[in-house]
């Protein structure tokens, strides 16, 4: 199986690698994993008062497709409202990166990660 040039680009030059302070009230953290392949993904968003995602970070241990999916997603969510970010579908990620069928689950993992990050942020705001 060969990776698409977009996957290779994200793999070699991953965008927004790193992390925010998990305890920060403006940060939402999504941690997800895929038992079948052992991939682990952390995706974090920093949300401003207007409910817009200002910045995003990720750290992924996994294959090139998993890294590319999360890297791409951090680029996409920046500047989006939480609602807009919720609407991102794994199929859009898979299409953009030209993922082969066996790697679709990597894009599912990324979609689950952003949803988990948003849920974490909203849970923090709810208790405030």
């Amino acid at each position: 199986m060969s990776y698409s040039t977009k996957v290779i680009d994200h793999y070699e030059n991953p965008r927004n690698v790193g992390s925010f302070d998990k305890a920060d009230q403006d940060v939402g953290t999504g941690m997800v994993g895929a038992p079948a392949c052992g991939d682990v993904m952390k995706l974090q968003i920093k949300v401003n008062a207007a409910g817009v995602i200002e910045d995003a970070r990720f750290k992924t241990y996994g294959c090139g497709s998993a890294i590319a999916s999360s890297s791409l997603l951090t680029e996409w969510v920046k500047g989006k409202t939480l609602q807009e970010a919720t609407e991102i579908k794994n199929t859009q990620i898979a299409e953009e990166l030209a993922l082969p069928p066996v790697k679709i689950h990597c894009s599912v993992l990324a979609e689950d990660a952003i949803k988990a990050a948003i849920a974490d942020y909203q849970a923090k705001k709810a208790v405030q």
Binding site: V32, G33, P35, A36, G38, D39, K59, H105
Partner: protein, 187 residues
């Protein structure tokens, strides 16, 4: 898993339980291997030879499942109608995943560390401890054999999937490190 699954416990004539007698398992494997070995049927008809090749493969496959605790647990769960759903279910326990991230980060650090093999063996020790503990839990949950406990066993099998992967990474790293070390350069 479909209904025509070969039941490895039946093939080996042992009770379908998790805590199996390992020496007995190995002994049974050798006995079955002798019985079905294609060399024993070399003089037989084409059909007999074909059948013996198939039987030998099935015995090997059953042994692979029975000897490995994770495969064995997966098989027992399947026999009780519980799918571990490792391929379809995203794992979300943040505490467990954070621990996985830390272990992976330590493996990465080992690559660059002044004493990579020392760090690596520390990580491998932690991996082994966690794995043994999880297998112990799987054993307990399978013994309880309630719908609730089988669900818990499946959850532990999913956790073990992450440990299988990270152990592979650790072994790869170990191979690379031991290959790269100058001969006689370490004392």
């Amino acid at each position: 898993m479909d209904g025509v699954m070969d039941n490895p416990f039946e093939r080996f004539g042992i009770a379908p339980i998790f805590d199996i007698d390992e020496p007995h398992l190995a002994e049974t494997f050798r006995r079955l291997q002798r019985v079905v070995h294609p060399d024993r049927h070399a003089g037989g008809s084409e059909q007999e030879r074909q059948r013996s090749v198939e039987q030998a493969a099935a015995v090997n496959e059953a042994f692979r499942t029975l000897r490995d605790p994770v495969r064995r647990a997966r098989c027992l769960l399947a026999l009780r109608g519980v799918d571990t759903q490792e391929g379809v279910r995203t794992f979300r326990d943040p505490v467990f995943l954070m621990d996985q991230m830390e272990l992976r980060a330590r493996l990465e650090e080992a690559r660059e560390a002044p004493d990579p093999l020392g760090l690596l063996s520390e990580v491998k020790e932690v991996l082994q401890k966690r794995r043994v503990a999880l297998i112990g839990e799987v054993s307990g949950f399978l013994r309880q054999d309630t719908p609730e406990s089988l669900g818990q066993a499946a959850e532990r099998v999913r956790r073990l999937g992450f440990f299988e992967r990270i152990a592979e990474e650790a072994n790869l790293l170990e191979e690379r490190l031991t290959d790269c070390l100058p001969r006689g350069g370490m004392d």
